[in-house]
Amino acid sequence: MTTLDQQNSLDRGPRFTLRPSLFVPIAAVAFAAAVGLALIAAIGVSVPDAIEAFVDGTIGSPYALAASLNRACVFALVGFGFVLANRANLTNVGGEGQIAVGGIAATAVALYGHVADLPLGLAFILPMLAAVIAGALWGALAAVLKVKSGTNEVISTLLLSFIGVWLLYWCVQSPALLRKPMTSSATLPESLEIPDATQLPLLTGDYGFPVHIGLPLTLLIALVVGVLLAKTIFGVRLRAVGLNPVAAHRAGISYAKTVIVALAGAGALGGLAGALMLLGEQHTLKDGFSSGYGFDGLVAGLLSRGSIPGVIAASLLFGFMRSGGINMEMVAAVPTALVVVIQGLIVITLAGAALFIEKWERRT
């Protein structure tokens, strides 16, 4: 028995060792990519063109790289939220709605009165805080339903997602809410662009490489969530409630409090993801602006199997895949459907790889 052993079994954290756990996922992604390329060839698109478009869209230019990283941040935040709630054996599938309400709240605050004139970065911090609170409330709603009446959080967070997405539609359709003033019949159903001061500052100040402060913020949150889960009493309580709610209750751990805090935390991170998308990149609230990010973030959380570095890895993968996919579509005329198929393939092979690793490690 070594202290290292103890630490591992106590923390349930990720283990960094040179085991198949590293190369099997890489092989899985390579396999999925190969199948994807075969499919692209089968529909008559030039494979080299497609690859070139993909590379251009991911790392081909500073701009593309920045866009990929910004996307990864959004996935990662939703993924961290998923992992947090999942530690208490809760499955938060409501990332999409939490992004939507976060975006709505951020836009509303950014466009409100003199928020844009506030000093010390409050101009963009306040909208972010609003998004965090909105997302937390959206998550807490599902938690309260679960605690009070036993509603399964998979159902409630999913249904709340639809409500959030349609709430967004309503906000951008109704001039009484966030739709910009209709000056002509051609006015699009979207909000005004948020003022410059409320947009997230870029890290380098270079518009050719528009990585915004969401990246360091996401890394900071990764650290906070990681420490919270591994080092604090709250993390232990989450785990106890997740593994055995009855025994946790007998030991004096409040189930209601733990569930509400866990889902509110997951929602808060979803809301923040919405704020990053809106304040950092889109600047204008449009219908469907969350465009599946909540679900991709959920998949990143699932694939990570509870590990924060795992979420980061999966989010980077998804961030690059989405950027590259969009470019393949635009430049190489690969149909959207096929891009989605390839992404699905990668998810399935990765999940299969995880299963394989687990069996392999159990055998040794």
Partner: protein
């Protein structure tokens, strides 16, 4: 009882195992076990918990595939593809846990998985009647399972097997849930089934049963065959030594009583002087379930400081409800529960723990611990706050204190960081006991079935700690279905039957028959 069966001699074995090995991961559950089962014999498999008895049965019944060795059945190689295959070949098994549909009748349960097309209930009922007379298994074919007693339910399981006319009949710890009378009846059934020329395998850890019914005995310890006997009644002491790897004379009296070994002796401590402050006072607790059925009926009892009161009864007679109410896991329909002056009725588990009541839950895995967490975390699960500063858990202090408790309570594990699920049942229970008994202001301990599934050594340790706590002036309420253990360790015994107290009497082994009758619902 001396065997009268014709089998004990030399007839060809029905099923023979040679050097059968079964591993689960790195754990070897069975190691080169060889065994012959002959027609007409009752063959007992004896061993402590975790000795590999159930695994052995499951290998015979095709649930597990052996990793090594060979089996032959009626002279031919036997490699069952699964339980269905084993059944088809004539090997039937009654599992520890029943698999009956509560809402269906006896006939329908027997027909489950057997009927094809139109059910022939009449024919089945006729067969049941024949089995009833042949083997002494009376059953009302139209009774609903939910209305039957545990003993009757087990009869249904047995009939389900016998109706298939098996050649080999395996019973895995069938007596654990039965009343004394029912046990005697079951052993009679075993004898009759064997007398009809079949082989019966009876798994048990109770020596009294072996003395009464076994033709031959195989003793397992740590997955190995450590002893066999063709004359169990004569060799009983040697068999015990083999099973527990120690000497019978060294056994703690209470532990010996769990084996049904010899006479039950009262080894309890000095009875406390009466008239001291009562610690636990239960006043008219009544629990009704959702259907409005009364599960616990006007339960009134006081337990003094330094006194151990045993609650006896066949499981399912209100003990679970009583313990759940005392633990704060269930709200009673009426009645109150006090600790000293404090009214604890309907308080949360957290408040009850804070008031100084330690709880050992009957279902360790469901209520008592979190299997996926570490030993240290489980030992301090209800006191984690003491190891916290600014929300951060001080794992060093947690592990250090847990290590101290592990030593004091002899909890054997790889270390305080070991996963709780990696501990044996006995060590898990010692850890739970350590947690509850070391509450800083403990004044009362409620322990439900604290020795269930434990081996002899662990039983002795558990009762040692309970007695020690009692000696410090803790009031102990001990709920157990093991009457012999209660007789040995308690000061007083109250008997629960259908949620009511049937009677109270001193824990005097001489009054065992009287208590047994009360457990069966006969007022004295």
């Amino acid at each position: 009882m001396i065997s009268t069966s014709p089998a004990a001699g030399a007839s060809a074995p029905l099923l023979s195992l040679s050097a059968v090995t079964k591993r689960f991961g790195s754990f070897t559950a069975l190691s080169e076990v060889s065994l012959d089962l002959r027609p007409g014999e009752v063959h007992c498999i004896l061993g402590e918990n975790g000795a590999g008895k159930s695994t052995l049965c499951n290998v015979m019944f095709g649930v597990h595939k052996p990793d090594g060795g060979a089996m032959s059945y009626r002279g031919a190689a036997y490699q069952p593809s699964g339980p269905a295959d084993a059944l088809a070949q004539g090997i039937a098994m009654v599992h520890q846990h029943f698999s009956l549909v509560g809402d269906m009748s006896v006939v329908d349960n027997v027909l489950l998985g057997r009927g094809r097309g139109v059910l022939n209930r009449k024919e089945c009922a006729r067969q049941l009647a024949k089995l009833a007379t042949d083997y002494g298994l009376p059953l009302d074919p139209n009774a609903k399972i939910d209305d039957l007693s545990v003993g009757e339910r087990q009869r249904v399981e047995i009939v389900k097997c016998l109706i298939r006319d098996p050649q080999l009949f395996v019973l895995d710890e069938p007596t654990a849930v039965l009343l004394p009378d029912e046990i005697a009846a079951l052993l009679q059934v075993c004898r009759r089934v064997a007398a009809s020329g079949r082989a019966v395998v009876l798994v048990t850890h109770k020596l009294a049963e072996i003395k009464e019914v076994a033709d031959r005995v195989t003793v397992l310890r740590g997955g190995r065959t450590v002893a066999t006997s063709d004359a169990p009644a004569r060799d009983i002491d040697a068999l015990v030594r083999a099973m527990i790897h120690g000497d019978v004379a060294e056994l703690d009296g209470t532990a010996a009583s769990t084996l049904g070994l010899g006479k039950v002796e009262h080894v309890g401590h000095q009875p406390p002087p009466r008239g001291k402050v009562e610690a636990l006072q239960i006043d008219g607790l009544t629990v009704k379930d959702r259907q409005g059925v009364t599960r616990l009926d006007n339960f009134t009892l006081t337990v003094d400081r330094g006194e151990i009161v045993g609650v006896a009864g066949v499981e399912g007679n209100g003990q679970s409800e009583l313990a759940a109410v005392l633990a704060g896991m269930m709200t009673p329909t009426s009645g109150r529960y006090y600790l000293g002056e404090a009214d604890l009725t309907g308080r949360s588990p957290k408040e009850i723990t804070a008031a100084g009541v330690g709880i050992v839950s009957e279902d360790r895995h469901a209520v008592g611990c979190v299997l996926g967490m570490s030993l240290a975390e489980n030992i301090y699960l209800n006191r984690l706050d003491e190891f916290t500063r600014f929300g951060f858990l001080n794992r060093t202090a947690l592990q250090r204190d847990a290590t101290t408790l592990m030593r004091r309570f002899d909890v054997r594990a790889r270390g305080p960081g070991a996963s709780f699920s990696s501990l044996s049942g006995g060590n898990q229970q010692k850890a739970v006991l350590a947690r509850e008994i070391t509450l800083p202001n403990l004044s009362c301990l409620v322990a439900s079935q604290p020795t269930r599934g434990l081996d002899v050594g662990a039983v002795a340790a558990v009762y040692g700690h309970i007695r020690e706590a009692c000696g410090r002036g803790i009031a102990v309420l001990l709920v157990s279905s093991e009457l012999d253990e209660l007789l040995s360790v308690a000061d007083r015994i109250v008997v629960l039957y259908r949620g009511r107290i049937m009677g109270t009497c001193p824990a005097d082994p001489a009054r065992k028959a009287e208590i047994g009758a009360m457990m069966a619902g006969q007022a004295q």
